[in-house]
């Protein structure tokens, strides 16, 4: 379903060409629906051990507190036959306005656990005030994972 819509929309964008790719408005503070895709997971052996495979996808919610603020959180839901759970990634201060590179140490946790400090690097690609792309790289158990997210605003505080 989404794939067909995505393909159709992508074709439209392809017809328009790069002229619209210059829009780079900073997203505003709020909640964003996040759909993510693992574009890279290396080395394979280490990634398999932690259950990550390139091509995995998922949905969640990202809270963006605005440029240069603390409180950025990415929450991901899991609801399956074996597990119902929430994963939270709490980020440090967001980049200053107009800055797309982001790095530091995030805190990762699930309900009932302590949070674990994890170094990360990330890069925003701003589209408009209510949408952006975010590429996130973390290393878990020797597995370097690159996640590409599309962020679309759903609401505010």
């Amino acid at each position: 379903m989404n794939m067909k819509l995505s393909s159709a929309a992508a074709c439209i964008i392809g017809l328009i060409g790069p002229s619209m790719a210059q829009a780079a408005t900073q997203p505003v503070l709020g909640y964003y629906f996040a759909t993510g895709y693992v574009s890279s997971a290396t080395p394979t052996a280490a990634c398999s051990a932690v259950g990550v495979t390139a091509g995995d996808d998922y949905n969640g919610i990202f809270y963006y507190p605005g440029a240069g603020h603390t409180g950025g959180v990415l929450r991901q839901a899991t609801a399956t036959a074996t597990k119902t759970a929430i994963t939270e990634l709490k980020f440090p201060t967001t980049p200053a306005a107009g800055t797309t590179a982001w790095s530091g140490t995030l805190q990762a946790g699930t309900e009932g656990s302590t949070f674990v400090a994890t170094p990360f690097t990330a890069s925003f690609t701003f589209l408009d005030a209510a949408s952006a792309d975010l590429s996130l790289t973390v290393t878990v158990g020797g597995c370097s994972e690159v996640w590409d997210f599309a962020l679309m605003r759903t609401g505010h505080d």
């Binding site: 929430i86 699930t110 609401g155």
Partner: protein, 159 residues
């Protein structure tokens, strides 16, 4: 798929002990809901309702705050009986920090049909923006009852 991400990033959390229990009452607002139908019994009745265990749902839950009316879960359904939107209007939410919830909800569809459905529910609060809720509901039609248990993850997405 999602489980893999959980395993990967949340695998970090597995390195830590579970000594710190995280809890916090969720706040008023709209929540993205991802649900899994853990059970539907008896299968002979539930199947005639088009309800099958293992079904996943996506929806939006409005939480009006503790001890307030207006809580509504809207979700998609796609069964052998059709596809559409289902709205479940709950009675007053539990008081602050109370996790058990029960009563009768009103279940409605686009067709206009509406049913009163007895339910029990249990919240597991994570923080002010996320929680788990397990809902047990008994749907009755023409004298036959299907009891369902749905586990739902709630992530806040606005007010």
């Amino acid at each position: 798929m999602r489980a893999f991400f959980l395993s990967g990033l949340a695998g970090l959390a597995l390195y830590a002990s579970n000594a710190t229990a995280l809890a916090g009452q969720i706040t008023t607002g709209y929540y993205y809901g991802t649900g899994y139908l853990a059970s539907a019994t008896p299968s002979s009745v539930c199947s005639t309702f088009g309800i099958t265990p293992g079904t996943t749902t996506t929806g939006v839950f409005y939480y009006p705050g503790a001890g307030k009316t207006g809580a509504t879960l809207r979700s998609n359904y796609s069964t052998s009986k059709g596809t559409g939107v289902e709205a479940e209007i709950f009675p007053a939410t539990p008081a602050l920090n109370v996790t058990a919830w029960s009563g009768t909800l009103e279940e409605g569809f686009e067709t206009g049909s509406q049913k009163a459905v007895p339910f029990t529910a249990q919240f597991t609060f994570f923080d002010s923006d996320s929680a788990l809720v397990s809902v047990v509901a008994s749907l009755t039609s023409f004298g036959f009852t299907c009891k369902t248990t749905e586990n739902i993850v709630l992530l806040k997405m606005g007010v």
